[in-house]
């Protein structure tokens, strides 16, 4: 074969190869196009539109009117309720997220042992996590009823007169925290998967070295589980800060705005007062607040989250 013939044959292969690759690329894009189109139309476009809307006053019925930074000025300087609702949301999150992590992890550890009826217990604990938010809210409304509710009736057995859970400014937030604890089953499943991924030889080696139960927990279990806890923390922050259904159904922000969480206030502005521009500004401020919080948590991760791959590299 002459050099010229060889070169011609090679270029034919290359051309074929390029055509094949291009065809694959086109096919790949065709396959993902419904999701890309969905993302662009249903997520990206509304986000950009809401950012633009936050500089307008718009009641849906008439064309939007440009107001510059007026919505943001109102949010930060003249309307006291956004900061009030943000404060309530943060207080609730600070109480709810750690408790959910601790309870979820504790239950997962208990259910990671060899006891009879393990799968039944796991199912029972996981069950509340799959129930609809509205149904759960209505159920807890009854549980929290002070005269006839299950919770106060149970407390009365011990001689304790329970508080007016949903009718008190003081107790309404603890009530929501307790209610959220009921659905730790979702997190428990993830912790359980994390616990089962920890190699048993680590525990065996620790036992041989004379480590007690606490040492095994703090030196092996928690460090090995730290990526899972970190994941739960991040998703927990995002999920908990967005609390809405419970307060919308159970208290409508009351009493006296004591459970007026941020998203409920945003919802009121958008869909009850039809102030779409102001609601968009509220949404963007909230988005940025959660984003910053998430970034801060990511920044702290290097101090307490241990990835197996990293430690291998270190070694």
């Amino acid at each position: 074969m002459s050099l010229a013939q060889f070169a011609k044959k090679q270029s034919g292969f290359t051309r074929l190869n390029i055509t094949y690759q291009r065809g694959e690329t086109v096919l790949a894009w065709a396959m993902v196009s419904p999701w890309v189109a969905g993302f662009l139309l249903l997520t990206a476009f509304p986000m950009v539109a809401s950012l633009a809307l936050s500089f307008f006053e718009w009641n849906i019925l008439t064309p939007p009117e440009y107001v510059g930074l007026a919505n943001y000025h109102k949010l930060f300087f003249t309307d006291p309720l956004p900061m009030h609702s943000l404060k309530i949301t943060v207080i609730f999150s600070l109480a709810s997220i750690p408790l959910n992590i601790v309870f979820g992890l504790t239950i997962a550890m208990l259910l990671n042992t060899n006891i009879r009826g393990l799968s039944v217990f796991r199912t029972i604990y996981y069950l509340p996590a799959i129930l609809s938010g509205v149904a759960v809210a209505i159920l807890w409304q009854w549980i929290f009823s002070s005269d006839f509710g299950l919770l106060n009736t149970a407390l009365r057995v011990f001689g304790i007169e329970g508080p007016a859970w949903l009718g008190s400014k003081i107790w309404v937030l603890p009530a929501f925290v307790i209610m959220r604890l009921w659905s730790v089953g979702g997190g428990m499943i993830i912790y359980l998967a994390g616990l089962q991924a920890i190699p048993t030889d680590l525990y065996e080696a620790a036992e041989i070295d004379g480590a007690n139960w606490w040492q095994r927990i703090f030196r092996i279990t928690l460090p090995m589980l730290s990526p899972t806890i970190f994941f739960q923390l991040i998703t927990g922050v995002i999920f908990t800060m967005q609390i809405f259904t419970e307060t919308f159904i159970m208290t409508d922000g009351g009493p006296a705005n004591a459970s007026l969480f941020y998203l409920l206030y945003l919802y009121r502005q958008a869909f009850q007062n039809f102030k779409m521009g102001y609601a968009s500004a509220l949404a963007w401020v909230f988005f940025i607040a959660i984003l910053l919080l998430t970034l801060v948590l990511f920044a702290t991760a290097k101090f307490w989250v241990f990835y197996e791959a990293e430690s291998d590299e270190d070694n």
């Binding site: 019925l61 008439t62 009854w142 005269d147 007016a164 009718g167 009351g254 009493p255 007062n273 039809f274």
Partner: protein, 444 residues
């Protein structure tokens, strides 16, 4: 002998394509109506949920036959304004394809009027010499703006006192009157009845006399009973007057029924609902509307309706009066008007009888509320209340937002966090007055 039609594949495709295009064009909003000159589609939006679901649709079904040339398209988004109805309505308005007739909350009417979105029904009323006196005057007045009429009632729903007559009899307490102009049944009589009806076992109350609720329409009625008002002029409000003597006294009296005298259960005790408390004999009276009638069909005690007591401001009440409106852009104004007439005419009997609503016209209400033998007794109280309805919501574009502000402060009084009504009222006035300026949209 049949003849086989021969058609080439190309002709077949052409025919199919043209038919598809024609069908597509026909479905473009408005085009179908233009092409089908003899039949106008008229779309109506409701928010009916159980038990009303299907009832209004059934009542309106004969509309097509009653008005040849109009074809009804009934759409319902169950669950009320907060459960998707407003989303659907406002989306259709933003898209420029609103229904031809739709229900809105009364608080939204000023914004719709301020934005000039609604069709004036006055020419149709005049042309048909339509009798508006069959509806509560104040409702029609609330739908009126600069001489035009921009709505017809969807339903008028009074609030009355429901009471367990057996408990009253047993306690020897005066029962709420069923006659509006009765000189008896004053605030003092109400208080005296509450004293007799409340039963205690040590520190525990076993039977409550009355209900104290954060329901805005109820506390507002107590404000009026004592001669107070929410604003200086409901049709042209300029300032909140809730911190004036009558209003403060009314609110204080109302809150004290719970916190000072213990006649009413605390809010958390009512999680099971006041209806359940009344049904189980733990509560002697509470406030509700005709929608609660079915709850008392099969109770083993005598339940009846009565009016609020009369106070320094006379007797008062509240009546819901949400309007059905027609957008200015409708392509079927005649059919829309015919539908409103049909709704308030032949359809109303079915709506009241089967839907459990109070209805709109007094004549239809009388047929049902005076003659129906089922409990509760004294159902004509609802009709009386509608006839004497005197307190419309302030006509502001942002009254919904103002209500939220008021409610948060009133909550403090209702939950006992603040016991002085004057403090609460002063704070309401401070917060609400700037919003009133913001919500003004017409001058008197």
């Amino acid at each position: 002998m049949s003849k086989k039609l021969n058609m080439s594949r190309r002709d077949f495709l052409r025919l199919t394509g043209m038919s598809s295009i024609a069908a597509g064009v026909y479905t473009i909003p408005g085009v179908g109506g233009v092409l089908a000159q003899d039949e106008r589609e008229v779309t109506i939006f409701f928010w009916d949920g159980p038990p009303l679901i299907g009832i209004r649709e059934k009542a309106l079904a004969p509309f097509d036959d009653a008005y040849p040339g109009c074809k009804l398209n009934f759409t319902s988004v169950p669950g009320g304004p907060a459960s998707g109805y407003n989303d659907k309505l406002f989306t259709s308005l933003a898209a420029g394809i609103p229904p031809d007739v739709f229900i809105i909350e009364i608080g939204l009417l000023p914004q719709f009027l301020a934005d000039d979105l609604l069709l004036d029904l006055k020419p149709y009323v005049d042309a048909d010499d339509y009798d508006l006196s069959q509806f509560p005057d104040l409702a029609i007045e609330a739908y009126t703006h600069e001489g035009g009429i921009y709505g017809m009632p969807d339903n008028v729903a009074s609030i009355a006192i429901f009471y367990n007559a057996d408990l009253f009899e047993e306690a020897g307490a005066m029962m709420p009157t069923a006659q509006w102009d009765d000189p008896e049944w004053t605030v003092d009589d109400f208080f005296s009845s509450c004293e007799k009806l409340t039963k205690r076992d040590g520190n525990r109350t076993t039977q409550y006399a009355c209900d104290v609720t954060g329901w805005d329409k109820v506390w507002q009625t107590w404000v009026r009973i004592f001669g107070g008002q929410l604003v200086d002029d409901p049709f042209y409000p300029t300032e909140c007057t809730l911190n004036e003597a009558g209003a403060v006294e009314g609110l204080q009296f109302y809150a004290d029924l719970r916190w000072e005298h213990g006649f009413a259960p605390r809010p958390e005790a009512m999680a099971m609902g006041t209806t359940a408390l009344l049904q189980t004999g733990q509560l002697a009276m509470f406030y509700s509307g005709s929608w609660a009638f079915p709850n008392f069909r099969e109770v083993d005690f005598n339940v009846a309706l009565g009016h609020y007591p009369a106070g320094p401001g006379g007797r008062a009440n509240y009546v819901y009066y949400y309007p059905l409106v027609v957008p200015k852009t409708t392509e079927a104004p005649e059919c829309a008007w015919n539908l409103l007439k049909f709704f308030n005419g032949p359809a109303m009997e079915t709506i009241i009888r089967e839907g459990g609503l109070q209805g709109t016209s007094f004549a239809e209400q009388e047929k049902w509320f005076v003659t129906d033998p089922l409990p509760p007794a004294n159902k004509h109280v609802m009709l009386d209340a509608a006839r004497h309805f005197v307190a419309p919501d302030p006509v502001l574009t942002n009254f919904g937002e103002i209500t939220q502000i008021m409610q948060a402060q009133i909550d403090l009084l209702m939950i006992g966090e603040e016991r002085d009504a004057k403090v609460v009222c002063d704070e309401i006035v401070r917060q609400v007055n700037p919003l009133i300026k913001e919500g003004q949209w017409r001058s008197g």
